[in-house]
């Protein structure tokens, strides 16, 4: 008779509700007749995410002191739960954005995978040892590989999925190998135990650490591990891209923070520099490449690389302020990413062709709500006031300054300046072209009514702008979450 460990089911409730939603949605693909399949599967997925959000909030409230559950493989603390709230909220919005996507079949599978991916991410942000780290990573990655390819009618979808699979698989392998090296050096899997056993000058450990960072940077799509990002973001169905840009990056960055701070505090002098270098690379490469893009999705993909750079600045500060900066920034960042891709999705459904700067012309005046929202998202990415992006960047820079890296502040400021060109370029395309410039090729009829997508965009707008005004409550949440880590 084997005695299983004690399991705190409440701590896993958010993850499990998403798994349950995934299972039910998958069943609906078989049991529910065709026309009803999409609404049923989508509502199951949405319910799963709503429940996960609720559980994550409840867990946040009821876990003031973080502790390990399931033989310390998983942390129940406010860091995980705050990330969980952000992820589950993103998933809910992604579900709303997905609903009207032009897709002929596989609705049940789509929502099942979307829920399962969210479950994997919620699990991922709570991981507390190297096994669960890899498990969580693969869990949501495999779901995303399939989601990218699920719409077989979509040109480039399969290519994107294959690229993501190969490069993502490579990234996972690097992470796994790094984990093996760390295990070899310390004989420990748990993050806390690695920290206790760690030898700062053990080259095996340092190699392992470097490979783990690289593996996580693949997922966060930070340069120079970003090669897959533009193609995958462009090829995947736009709602999936929205979800990946917001949630995958958030999960990867939170785990990077947790892993480095709890498992490798003794090597902080190494990984802070490494992260700063990755941040600078991301800022430079992401911004310069975004300047020359013609497709809006590709531009947003490169912009997400540069945003990863800004958030890595916060992580690299290795301080409570840095953690707060990251957690705060993730809120408006997730909203802006979801919102901007949602607007792209709306335009795509209207035109039936990939969205470029050219065919965004006049969009702002035709669909003022979406246009103004997109304007706000672009300003937010560029760090303008009246959006949470401004406060997030300010916090990230403040963390870098507090760490003594004024040069990093300067790099960030210059990157922001460069980024204005393409963010405002999109605003220019939407609002400032004369009607003669418009080359519209609508696929017929008036623009599809899409109340769900518009609601999602408005929600993103509210979060983007609201996080500028309600800094204090959000930063309090972030501080409690950051206090789960010991700096």
């Amino acid at each position: 008779m084997i005695h299983g460990p004690h399991i705190d089911w409440f701590a896993l409730a958010a993850v499990n509700s998403l798994l349950a939603a995934a299972a039910l949605a998958l069943l609906s693909a078989v049991l529910v007749p065709g026309p009803l399949r999409r609404p049923v599967a989508a509502s199951l997925c949405a319910l799963g995410y709503a429940a996960a959000t609720g559980f994550a909030i409840a867990l946040y409230v009821r876990s003031p002191h973080g502790h390990g559950v399931v033989v310390d493989a998983f942390r129940r603390d406010r860091l995980a739960e705050l990330a969980g709230i952000i992820l589950a909220g993103s998933g809910l919005l992604a579900t709303a954005i997905s609903y009207r996507e032009r897709m002929r079949e596989h609705h049940g599978e789509y929502y099942a995978l979307l829920a399962a991916a969210g479950g994997g991410m919620l699990f991922f942000v709570g991981t507390n040892n190297l096994m669960t780290l890899f498990l969580g990573l693969e869990w949501f990655s495999i779901c995303l590989y399939i989601l990218c390819a699920i719409d077989r009618d979509r040109l480039g979808g399969l290519e994107a999925a294959l690229k993501y699979l190969v490069i993502g698989g490579f990234g996972s392998a690097v992470l796994l190998f790094g984990s093996a090296l760390v295990y070899g050096a310390t004989g420990q899997l748990g993050f806390g135990a690695i920290s206790a056993a760690g030898h700062a000058h053990d080259s095996l450990l340092v190699f392992g650490l470097a490979m783990i960072i690289a593996g996580l940077a693949f997922k966060a799509s930070a340069a120079p591990f970003h090669m897959w990002t533009p193609d995958v973001y462009e090829g995947a169905p736009t709602p999936v891209t929205a979800f990946m840009a917001a949630a995958t990056k958030a999960a990867a960055l939170v785990v990077t923070l947790r892993l480095l701070v709890t498992a490798f505090p003794g090597d902080a002098h190494l990984w802070t520099v490494a992260l700063a270098a990755i941040a600078v690379c991301s800022l430079v490469i992401g911004n310069l490449a975004a300047l020359v893009q013609k497709g809006v999705k590709r531009m947003l993909a490169y912009s997400s690389i540069s945003q990863a750079g800004f958030m890595l600045i916060a992580v690299s500060a290795n301080s409570n302020l840095g953690a707060r900066a990251l957690l705060f920034y993730l809120v408006p960042y997730a909203a802006m990413s979801l919102g901007s891709f949602a607007v792209v999705a709306a335009r795509e459904r209207e035109l039936g062709v990939p969205v470029t700067f050219e065919n965004m012309a006049g969009f702002g005046w035709e669909r003022p709500l979406l246009g103004v929202s997109m304007w706000a998202f672009m300003l937010g990415f560029a760090g303008f006031p009246l959006t949470g992006g401004f406060v997030g960047k300010f916090y990230a820079f403040a963390a870098a300054y507090e760490h003594g890296w004024t040069w990093l502040v300067i790099v960030g400021v210059l990157a922001t300046l460069v980024s204005l060109y393409y963010y405002l370029g999109l605003v220019r395309a939407m609002f400032m072209r004369r009607t003669e410039d418009l080359q519209l090729a609508p696929i017929g009829g008036s623009p599809p009514r899409d109340a769900l997508l518009q609601t999602a965009v408005v929600a993103c707008l509210v979060v983007t702008v609201g996080s500028f005004f309600a800094v204090q409550p959000l930063i309090d949440l972030a501080r409690h979450a950051a206090n789960s880590l010991s700096f």
């Binding site: 006031p385 300010f394 403040a398 300054y401 060109y421 204090q472």
Partner: protein, 479 residues
């Protein structure tokens, strides 16, 4: 009270954007909001205790406490005048935009009101980060206002404008972070003085581009030419004053030592800008070019007054900020009115418009005469004080300034004669009307303000600083 001044236009903007109003009611509502704003400002002016001076009508709330950033607004004597300039010029600009009938009225009026709220915010913010937020928030409506409603070259003009100004303001952001975190507060009334040259230069970069100072004025001619006249009026009349205000309130007041180090180079740039701008204004081929380059010159003069760092210089600079704001707003609006009748601003195609158009001639000449600083005008008082102030830093500066005043007379008189006198130009048709009553209603208040200031310049010079001692206020960092 101060918060109300900021929020009223923002709230009106939201109402106009959200409610499905028709063109007339949207414009009327915007104008009403702008006039109520003027009324509020008059309240502020009456209730501000000039005898006591210092920060009044202050309101404070924590924004995010862990980094000691707060929403803190309030007004000093000189900010009362700058807020007044803002609300009066904005009301005129909105009225003009309403009368001309811009496309997409709701979007347009909403953005104008938004801009108005942001500018008032800049002049009243008492927290560095809040100041920055308002300073940047000005850019959001300006970008769209120039880019959508501007002339044919508007796309290039907006791009240049945004990249120039943002380059400066992002350097300022870096400075704000370093300064605020090192002093452990962002509150302008509490933050101590700093001796860091780099931080000072970050602020100077932002303000020098916004003003603009020579040689950072590359964005200026295009932005002023391509935007619609009322937006150009606000840009040169009011937005540029945000930079001068920043020099006074932050750069000079908080960085006494770096000011000593960099005074000579900054004065030199200001002086070069003054002469260079005046010469370019004299050579400019169109009305807007003349006003645009004269703005460059005037901002140089104001900067000279500020960096004289003494009572006379500060008084003169504040007076001249208001003067120039009113003058250039009025001139740009008049330029717009002329262009509307002739479809061109080229001086060679204009001329002879005075004949049969007495109102236009009277208003333009009155404004022009004040602009060229004839004795008894408010501009004369301002420029005299600035020259007297900067004289203490070396008589050479005053000589440069005096030369520039002569040049100002030359370019203003050239402008007046090219538009009003000489033979009737090819673009001027006999059917072009005199100023309509509505147009008079827009510019006459601005000119009336100028005449009032000419009659009593001491209204500003003696009511800007505590006990009329600008230098004391500044040396204490406006605590």
């Amino acid at each position: 009270m101060t918060t109300l001044l900021i929020l009223l236009p923002l709230a009106a903007a939201l109402v106009i954007w959200v409610l499905p109003l028709n063109d007339i009611s949207a414009g009327a509502l915007a104008l009403l909001a702008a006039l109520v704003e003027v009324g509020l400002w008059i309240q502020l002016l009456v209730r501000y205790d000039f005898a006591q001076g210092g920060l009044q009508f202050a309101q404070e709330r924590a924004w995010f406490s862990d980094l000691h950033v707060s929403y803190h607004v309030g007004v000093y004597g000189f900010s009362v005048w700058l807020v007044g300039l803002t609300v009066v010029a904005m009301a005129a600009a909105i009225a003009y935009g309403f009368w001309v009938g811009r496309d997409r009225v709701r979007a347009y009026m909403g953005l104008m009101l938004f801009l108005s709220g942001a500018i008032v915010g800049v002049f009243t913010a008492q927290d560095l980060l809040l100041f920055y937020a308002f300073f940047e928030a000005m850019m959001i409506p300006l970008y769209i206002l120039v880019g959508v409603w501007g002339g044919p070259g508007r796309l290039g003009a907006t791009l240049k404008f945004v990249l120039y100004t943002m380059a400066g303001s992002l350097l300022m952001l870096a400075s704000i972070i370093v300064y605020g975190l090192s002093q452990n507060t962002f509150d302008l009334t509490q933050i101590g003085q700093s001796s860091s040259d780099w931080v000072f230069l970050g602020f100077v970069a932002a303000f020098a581009i916004k003003a603009p100072l020579f040689p950072l004025h590359g964005w200026l001619p295009d932005a002023y030419r391509e935007s619609s006249p009322e937006v150009a009026a606000i840009l040169s009349g009011v937005v540029s004053k945000a930079a001068a205000y920043g020099f006074l309130r932050i750069a000079i007041a908080k960085f006494p030592e770096p000011v000593q180090h960099y005074r000579a180079p900054i004065l030199a740039l200001a002086a070069i800008g003054l002469i260079y701008g005046s010469l370019l204004a004299f050579r400019a081929p169109d009305i807007r070019g003349v006003i645009a380059y004269s703005s460059l010159a005037q901002m140089g003069l104001i900067t000279m007054g500020l960096f004289a760092v003494n009572d006379l210089g500060f008084d003169g600079a504040v007076l001249q900020m208001v003067n120039h704001g009113l003058v250039s707003a009025a001139l740009f609006l008049l330029a717009g009115m002329v262009e509307r009748r002739t479809l061109t601003g080229e001086l060679t195609r204009l001329g002879g418009m005075a004949r049969g158009r007495p109102a236009l001639a009277t208003v333009l000449i009155t404004t022009g005469v004040i602009a060229l600083a004839v004795p008894l005008s408010s501009a004369f008082a301002g420029e005299f004080l600035i020259l007297a102030g900067v004289f203490r830093q070396g008589w050479g500066w005053s000589v440069v300034g005096a030369v520039a005043i002569v040049l100002a007379a030359a370019y203003v008189l050239r402008l007046i004669s090219a538009v009003l006198h000489r033979d009737v130009g090819p673009a001027v048709s006999d059917s072009a009307l005199d100023l309509r009553p509505a147009e008079l209603g827009v510019v006459v208040p601005l000119v009336a303000c100028l005449l009032a200031l000419s009659a009593w310049p001491a209204a500003i010079t003696e009511h800007s600083f505590r006990n009329d001692r600008g230098q004391t206020d500044v040396s204490q960092g406006f605590k």
